[in-house]
Structures are given as C-alpha cells and as structure tokens.
C-alpha cells in the first residue's frame, strides 16, 4: 500500500558545472513507501542528483521539497538515511568498532553530550540485528569484508529510524550471492518497515525484480520514472546509448 504524501518533490532542478549541464530541468516526485532504482551511465549525474537532494551540492536553480518542506528549511536529516558509494572503501586503520560506526547515526540526536544516552541502546541493537551485524559489534571496522562493512553502514543509516534510505551503488565489491540477499533485505525494509528506498545501481538485472519504479538519468534523457512493467529496450538504449535487448524469464525482466 502506498501513501500519498511525497518524500522528495523536485521541480526544474538545474545544476551547471564548468558551464556544462550536469542536471537539466529535472522534475520528479517520490512518494512515501516507494522502492525506486536510479540508473544511468557513468557520469550521467546519478550521484550528483542524490547529493543535490541531500544538500551536499547546491543546485543552480529549481526547487526541492523534502517531506513536504523546502530543502532550505528542512532540518530533520535523521529521517533520511544515506549510505555513500565508498562505504566499503573506508580507511582500514580508522579506530572504530562496528558499534562505534553504528552510533554515528545517532550523533545528531546526541549533540554536545559527553556520553551517549543509554536509552538509545535498543536502537543500536535493533539496527545491528536487522543488518545481521550484532555479533560483529566489537570488531574493528577495518577487519571486516566489503559486504560486512556495507551492512554496518546501512545499520548506521537505519539506527535513527529514517523514513527514507538512499543508497549509492550499495553493491560495489559485493559478490553475486550476497547481492541477491542484499536486495531481499532492502525489499523487506521497504515492505515491513515502510521505509522509502532509493538506490543507485549499475545492475540492470537486479532492478527488474520487485521494484516500484526506475529513474533513468543521463546526458540526453534526464529523468523519467517508469513502472517496471513498462521497461523497454528503447529506454535502455536511450539511456546507455547502445542497442539494448530485453529478455524475460517466467514473466520477469532479466
């Protein structure tokens, strides 16, 4: 069941960099409960769009509303969980246990306090349980594999009970079996916890399963939101700039 209120409402978003359009008249709305994949070729503006939504990059023009509020006035950032692209590529020597990293997700709620409020302990345990990293909580983050680190980073993003989870290429460096498990988990978070999920991916095969919509972005076709049943070779060909063919297996795109 979908909710009618919007999570992100973007109108005529433009971003110029070195006099070149990175984002040009991008408009779309993402609703609460959506499970959306954002795809496009390298340099097509996927990460830039996400960073603009998160106010990490300032747009040249256009408006962004987050959870009904203008981005400039929005300050409930704990409702937006973000997992950056390089999550699995962090410094091995950084002195942080899994628990330390997950706690970072609560720092904004614990600002300027000497110690963490112990009433948040159950949130930490819940987030680590959901991502199956509770047993690793005392391990140093640098000792974990790429896939484990990725799960820790998502636990960090989930610990503040966000309404939206944004993941930038979450499966970089993760093997095929764990990728599949990972997308099952994302779907579960979307379905059971009602978390709106937006993720950037290069893996076109993955997006064909279960998602509510795909947003395509590249230098020619900027953004469109298309239900998966309408996925067509024509769209992929336009986005990636080559002649794409779509195969189906048991009624699903592969």
């Amino acid at each position: 069941m979908k909710f009618s209120s919007s999570v992100f409402e973007v109108k005529n978003l433009c971003l110029l960099r070195n006099k070149q359009d990175v984002l040009k008249n991008v408009s779309f709305t993402i609703f609460k409960g959506d499970y959306i994949a954002l795809i496009g070729p390298n340099g097509g503006g996927k990460s830039t769009l996400v960073k603009t939504l998160l106010k990490l990059i300032s747009a040249t023009s256009g408006t962004i509303k987050i959870l009904g509020q203008n981005q400039s006035k929005f300050n409930a950032w704990d409702k937006i969980g973000y997992v950056p692209q390089r999550a699995s590529l962090l410094d091995d020597n950084f002195p942080a246990s899994v628990l330390d990293v997950v706690k970072m997700g609560l720092i904004v709620k614990n600002k300027h306090k000497l110690f963490f409020n112990s009433s948040f302990n159950h949130l930490l345990d819940d987030a680590m349980k959901k991502m199956n990293v509770l047993h690793l909580k005392d391990r140093q983050i640098g000792e974990l594999s790429g896939g484990q680190r990725q799960r820790v980073m998502i636990a960090r993003a989930l610990v503040s009970k966000p309404e939206v989870l944004i993941l930038d290429e979450p499966n970089t460096g993760v093997d095929a079996k764990h990728q599949k498990d990972f997308y099952v988990l994302l779907k579960k978070l979307n379905k059971d916890e009602k978390i709106t999920i937006i993720f950037i991916t290069h893996d076109i095969g993955v997006i064909a399963d279960d998602i509510d919509g795909v947003m395509f972005i590249n230098s020619t076709l900027r953004v469109s939101k298309t239900p998966t049943k309408d996925l067509s070779c024509n769209i992929f060909s336009k986005v990636y700039g080559f002649d794409a063919h779509m195969l189906t297996h048991r009624g699903k795109h592969v």
Partner: protein, 260 residues
C-alpha cells in the same frame, strides 16, 4: 629535582600541554591533517616575531597569528577546493619565510626567538602557568563536548554533513583549538618540535587498534609519559627539553611498530 619551583612549573605545564596536544592532535591525525600542527607552529612563530618586534607579549601575538592562519587555511581549503597537504605546505613555508624576514629586520632578538624554535620549558613562569590553565580548561572542555561530532567528521566528512551536522562550524572550532594549543606549546617544546607531540602519540596508539576511546587514552598516556621522562632527562643530562620529549615519543612509536 622538585625542590626548584621552575621544575614544578615545567612538569605542570608540560603535562597540561601533553593532555591538550594529544587530545586535539588525535582528531587532526584522524582527519589526515597531521601537517596542520607543523604549519600552525610556524605561523605562531611569526606571531612571536611580530610580538617581540612590536614590544607585545609574544604569547598573545602567537595565539592571534595561529588562529588567523588556521582560519585562512580552512577557508582556502574549503572554498577553493585546494588539496589539504598543498595548502598546508604553502602556509608552512610562507610562515617560515615571513618569520625569517621579520627576524632579519631586527636581529637583536635572535636569542629570544631561538627559545621559541626549540622550546625552553624551564623558563615557564607562574603567570604562564595560569594562562595555560585557563586556556586548557576551555579547550579541553570544548573538545570533550564535541568529540563525538569531530569523530564522525573525521570518519567521513560528507556523511556527517548529510546527517545534518554543521561540519564547517566544527572544523573551524577544531582548527582554532589546535591553533591555541600550538601557540601555548611552542614555548615548551618549540615550534620545530610541537608537531611531534600533536601527531606521534596518536599514530602510536592507533597501532594498538583499541577504538576511539582506547586510542585517545593511549595517546594521552604516551604523551604524558614522554613529557615526564623527557623533562627528567633534560634536567639530569642538561639537554633541551623539547628535543628530549620528542626522542621519548619516537622510542614509544618504534615500540608500537612491533605490535602485531
């Protein structure tokens, strides 16, 4: 050795500097910004030179110059997106050049400036100690209250920003604290050696892989041990205190290299 007031002042001020430099230094090391301490030490040397030239208290002028340099470095790094190590290298050599020019304009104070280059802990007065105590109280208090935020920013600045932290504010606050700590410290360990006291304790404790608080506690311990042993060596062997402290730190660092 404790029958002399100056030795008691030396130990007290040394321990204060050890606490402050290891705590603030930990965050600049974690931010991969280690050269900041060296650079600000040179900038505060310009402040000392200006202070002596104009007949002002070098203590205050060095604090002012170090803070201005810290803010300028941070501003240029962020606004002009210049690599951190490059902007630090520019300020490091620029400050030293400026200090040398000022010294050459009035070479009568070469000796006083020399003590700021290598440190002279035995010349710490009761007044210096009080100033240090006041600044230490505020600097350490601030660091304690913002250590979680600084830790998050050190881990991933962009992620901290996306989580709603005012990263710019915390970064300016951190470099200001580091600037004050360095300006206070150069009288004790000298501008050429303070970088070691800011960086080596944290680098050594990172080798032990003990998480944030373990790293901070071991950095603090290494720092205090090096100051106590270094000053004692300086007293008994009649060698400069700053250099003795740094040699002890290097020995501790070498020891941690054997930790598997």
């Amino acid at each position: 050795m404790f029958e002399y007031d100056f030795m008691i002042y030396a130990f007290l001020s040394g321990i204060m500097i050890a606490i402050l430099s290891s705590m603030s230094g930990a965050f600049i090391v974690l931010k991969r910004y280690s050269l900041l301490s060296e650079t600000l030490a040179h900038s505060s040397l310009v402040g000392v030179a200006v202070g002596i030239l104009l007949g002002l208290n070098p203590y205050w002028s060095s604090i002012v110059f170090a803070i201005i340099a810290a803010w300028l470095i941070e501003f240029i790094r962020v606004e002009f997106k210049i690599y951190s190590d490059a902007i630090l290298a520019i300020f490091l050599s620029g400050s030293l050049a400026l200090a040398v020019i000022i010294v050459s304009l009035a070479d009568s104070f070469n000796n006083s400036l020399f003590s700021y280059l290598f440190g002279s802990i035995l010349s710490v007065s009761e007044d210096d100690l009080i100033v240090m105590l006041v600044f230490s109280f505020f600097a350490l208090g601030t660091l304690l209250f913002i250590h979680k935020e600084l830790y998050f920013i050190s881990y991933d600045e962009e992620l901290a920003k996306a989580s709603g932290l005012n990263v710019k504010f915390y970064n300016y606050l951190l470099v200001s604290i580091v600037a004050i700590v360095i300006a206070l410290s150069i009288q004790i360990v000298g501008s050429l050696l303070i970088g070691a006291l800011m960086v080596i304790p944290t680098i050594s404790s990172l080798r032990l892989k003990k998480g944030l608080y373990g790293t901070l506690i071991f950095a603090l311990l290494f720092s205090i041990i090096s100051v106590i042993v270094g000053i004692s060596l300086s007293y008994y062997m009649s060698v400069p205190s700053g250099a003795s402290i740094v040699v002890v730190l290097i020995i501790i660092f070498i020891g941690t290299l054997f930790k598997k």
